[in-house]
């Protein structure tokens, strides 16, 4: 036993979750920006990648690169096995009932567009309605607007209160016989609000309305069980979950996926082709036309395994501590207003400062090595709801520390000094 007195931070992380050790898994964190150690607080935009992910992608290209599902040679077999193994890892991660319910897509945006263009086009007609909430990301607004425009349907929006919480009674009132689909974020990227998705799904299902959950922000921050939620679709991106860009998952219930027409046509999604008639492949391949993003899927698998090793419960606890600490520290600074104060909240701290535009905040924080996002966060309707043009947003990841939040706070003081 060491006799050296521990700092409060060391005591804080003295359990199994050793954030200082974890940081060593992320080579990118070890660098200076403008001569200051990088403090990366833009994890809601994208997360950094552990060595395990970088190595998996390199290993694939060095040793296993081959097309999948077609060759009989050794490399193709190896690549196919590795690729399909990730489907099982993802199934387990979401606790889906079957691997055929895991469709690989480019990311959350593509997943939502796919549902809009297949399930939506088949089931939403003239005069029907699609219901979303006021805190959605553009990627869970625009695909539905495109669909509604095409079909002569109407997009309805359930309101939020001044804390950024969904008004559940108002939401329920908007569920009518015209509602053909509900699409909601699990966790708001701009406000950090955790939507009551379980309640939302229960209310919608009581009226036989299917529900799509946009899980882009939630999956890296909490355990998701699609069977316990009973959602009909769940969309996520690998790159917000410590994996590579360009790969994500659409989870769908078998019954719904089977009834849906294919989206894109091409190789891999067919069972047989003649000029007279094409028989589509079975699930999940029906929705995976063309050679997929094999390398990044394998990288994604490594990311899921990495997160599993740390444990989402532990990550959730760590980030909850960071958010509480950051909220307390930042709201104590005079002239700051936090945007998004929901009781159920995770991962994201959006704020504005008196008379100082978020863009200026972002530039000055960057000069201190602190990376935050400034702008409307692809959620312009949320900005309009709070009557602000933009916010500065710090968003946390599994490798952030309390000391980094202290750096953020000192940098905010510098913003006030520079802008006078």
């Amino acid at each position: 036993m060491s006799t050296v007195a521990k700092t409060p931070q060391e005591i804080h992380t003295a359990g199994t979750y050793d954030v200082y050790k974890i940081r060593k898994d992320f080579p990118i964190l070890n660098q200076n920006v403008h001569g200051k150690p990088l403090v990366y607080l833009d994890n809601a935009a994208t997360t950094q990648k552990p060595l395990a992910v970088i190595d998996a992608i390199e290993q694939y290209y060095r040793h296993d690169n081959s097309n999948i599902h077609r060759g009989v040679h050794t490399l193709s077999e190896r690549a196919t096995a590795d690729y399909e193994k990730v489907r099982e890892t993802a199934r387990k991660f979401l606790n889906a009932a079957d691997t055929k319910e895991i469709i690989f897509v480019r990311g959350t945006t593509e997943a939502i567009n796919m549902v809009a263009q297949t399930y939506g086009r088949k089931n939403v007609g003239s005069g029907d309605e699609v219901l979303i909430t006021a805190l959605e990301h553009h990627s869970n607004i625009v695909p539905w607007q495109l669909l509604c425009e095409e079909k002569g349907a109407k997009l309805r929006v359930a309101p939020i209160n001044d804390s950024g919480e969904l008004l559940l009674e108002e939401f329920e009132k908007l569920l009518t016989p015209k509602t053909k689909l509900v699409a909601v974020a699990h966790l708001s990227n701009a406000l950090g609000t955790i939507n009551p998705v379980r309640e939302i799904i229960r209310m919608a299902h009581a009226r036989n309305i299917p529900v799509l959950v946009d899980g882009a922000q939630a999956v890296a921050r909490m355990q998701v069980d699609v069977q316990a939620l009973d959602c009909d679709f769940y969309a996520l991106s690998s790159h917000k979950l410590y994996g590579p860009t360009g790969i994500g998952v659409l989870y769908g219930k078998t019954k719904l996926l089977e009834a849906m027409p294919p989206w894109q046509g091409g190789g891999d999604m067919i069972a047989s082709v003649t000029f007279e008639k094409t028989i589509y492949n079975r699930l999940p391949y029906k929705f995976e036309a063309g050679t997929p993003n094999i390398a990044d899927t394998i990288g994604f698998g490594a990311a899921l395994e990495y997160v599993n090793r740390l444990g989402l419960d532990e990550i959730e606890r760590h980030e909850a501590d960071l958010l509480a600490y950051a909220t307390k520290s930042v709201e104590a600074i005079p002239g700051i207003r936090i945007i998004g104060t929901a009781k159920e909240k995770a991962g994201v701290l959006s704020f504005v400062m008196d008379d100082i535009h978020p863009h200026d905040i972002g530039t000055i924080l960057d000069s201190e090595g602190v990376a935050v996002r400034t702008g409307h966060h692809c959620a312009q309707p949320v900005m309009q709801r709070f009557d602000i043009p933009a916010t500065a947003r710090a968003s946390f990841g599994l490798y952030n520390t309390r000391e980094e939040i202290d750096v953020l706070v000192a940098a905010i003081h510098k913003v006030q000094k520079v802008m006078g």
Partner: protein
């Protein structure tokens, strides 16, 4: 800190807090909107042109310190100039903030304080937003211009 001070010079901060000609013109012979969807900066520039010269100019809207100060100083600089001269100043100002001005803005008078912007490529759009709107107004473009 020195680079930051280059960007956020006293003159710029002062103009961003107390913008000049910060009002609409009713009526205006020319008018256009400038919008940066990336950060939400949004200005409307109003101009009255008489005998080929800018007799009055004003702006309204909201944005960061750089965009607001730039709009404010633009109105000060261009009042009384011919539209041809205004186009010419636009070009030289653009060269200055993108780091392509040979004399570092000596010929631009007070506007030379924006030379520091060239160190921040992401902020060039802020510095030029009102200028793009002005040019659209003078050319009679009806749609809101966007710097994205």
């Amino acid at each position: 800190m020195s680079e930051l001070r280059e960007l956020y010079q006293e003159v710029i901060l002062e103009h961003s807090k107390k913008p000049r000609n910060f009002h609409a013109l009713e009526p205006a012979s020319h008018k256009a909107e400038g919008y940066n969807p990336l950060c939400g900066d949004h200005f409307t520039v109003y101009v009255n042109v008489k005998d080929g010269a800018i007799s009055d100019i004003g702006f309204q809207g909201s944005g960061c310190a750089i965009s607001k100060a730039s709009a404010s100083m633009m109105t000060q600089t261009l009042k009384g100039k011919t539209t041809e001269e205004a186009e010419n100043v636009f070009t030289r100002f653009h060269d200055l903030v993108t780091g392509h001005a040979p004399g570092n803005g000596e010929d631009l008078g007070k506007l030379a304080v924006f030379a520091g912007v060239s160190e921040y490529p992401l902020r060039v759009k802020c510095a030029t937003l009102a200028w793009h709107a002005l040019r659209a107004a003078l050319r009679g473009d009806q749609d809101a211009i966007s710097t994205e």
